[in-house]
Amino acid sequence: MKPIFKPGASVIVSNREVDGHKRTPTYIRGKSGVIERFCGSFRNPESLAYGGDGLPRQPLYRVRFLQSHVWPEYQGSFTDTVDIEIYQHWLEPVS
């Protein structure tokens, strides 16, 4: 898989239902953020967790989210963020 998002691009985390092991936390599903950096491509844990080879490798990004967007009741500075590593197949472009 080729990386399709550039740093600074706006993305939204998929809300689709996926059974089994995954590394995308529930609290960030459906939230939008900005690509902070591309981290490289890695074997897919959703396959590795079941003895698979994890191929094709998935591009991995750090995505930055505003805390006040992630948690509507957030108490703290408006500029506070949470950065999360998310694989490309969980990300959709914001149109």
Partner: protein, 205 residues
């Protein structure tokens, strides 16, 4: 919903004995089948015990005294750490810097990912539910529990260590340490300051 009550892990001697038996049985069976040896287990434990916060403190102190090194370290954490002769064994390390404007805090909400090669094994609280559940949503309250109170003008960046990267916080260099040697500076850098729940220690007056 089932998350309303939180017992947290308990110590149950009978249950502990059961899982210790399971661990012994698995280890013995793997050795008997020739999959691994007792010597390998002993060596692996020894290697693990050699890793600890002192390694991270060396990295931080060196970054404090050498701005060019700090730049390289922030650009590529793994390469920066290896530059000091500390093996990272393939760990992809990202170093994040605390400044007057930004404070970084590391958590792994899904399990307990931690830069073990540089900091050793994580403290109990890092692995338990209370920290994992709360650090990501109420970092200021969590920091306050560790005695770290930050003004609203400081931006808090929480890093949820969900995949292949590991994180080390580069704490801010305390005031009053100008001209200090690296090993003296390293003594101010404790584990918690590299997770981000505290600042580096202040020099004693």
């Amino acid at each position: 919903m089932s998350h309303d009550h939180h017992h947290g892990p308990t110590i149950d001697p009978e249950r502990l004995a059961y899982y210790q038996r399971m661990a012994t049985a698995v280890r013995e069976l793997l050795i008997e089948k020739g999959i691994l040896t007792d010597a390998q287990i002993v060596a692996t434990i020894k290697k693990m015990e050699a890793r600890g916060p002192a390694l991270g403190a060396r990295v931080v102190a060196h970054a404090w005294v050498d701005p060019n090194y700090k730049t390289r370290l922030l650009l590529d954490g793994s390469a920066g750490v290896e530059e000091l002769g500390i093996p990272v064994d393939g760990t992809r390390l990202i170093v994040v810097e605390n400044t007057e404007e930004v404070h970084n805090l590391v958590v792994c909400t899904l399990c307990s990912c931690y830069p073990r090669n540089i900091l050793g094994l994580p403290p109990d609280w890092y692995k338990k539910a209370a920290y994992r559940a709360r650090a990501v949503k109420e970092p200021r309250a969590v920091l306050a529990e560790f005695g770290t109170v930050l003004s609203d003008s400081v931006t808090i960046r929480v890093h949820d260590s969900t995949a292949d990267m590991r994180y080390l916080v580069l704490p801010a260099r305390p005031a009053g340490t100008e001209g200090w040697a690296e090993d003296k500076l390293a003594a101010l850098v404790n584990r918690d300051s590299m997770i981000g729940v505290q600042a580096a220690k202040e020099p004693e007056q």
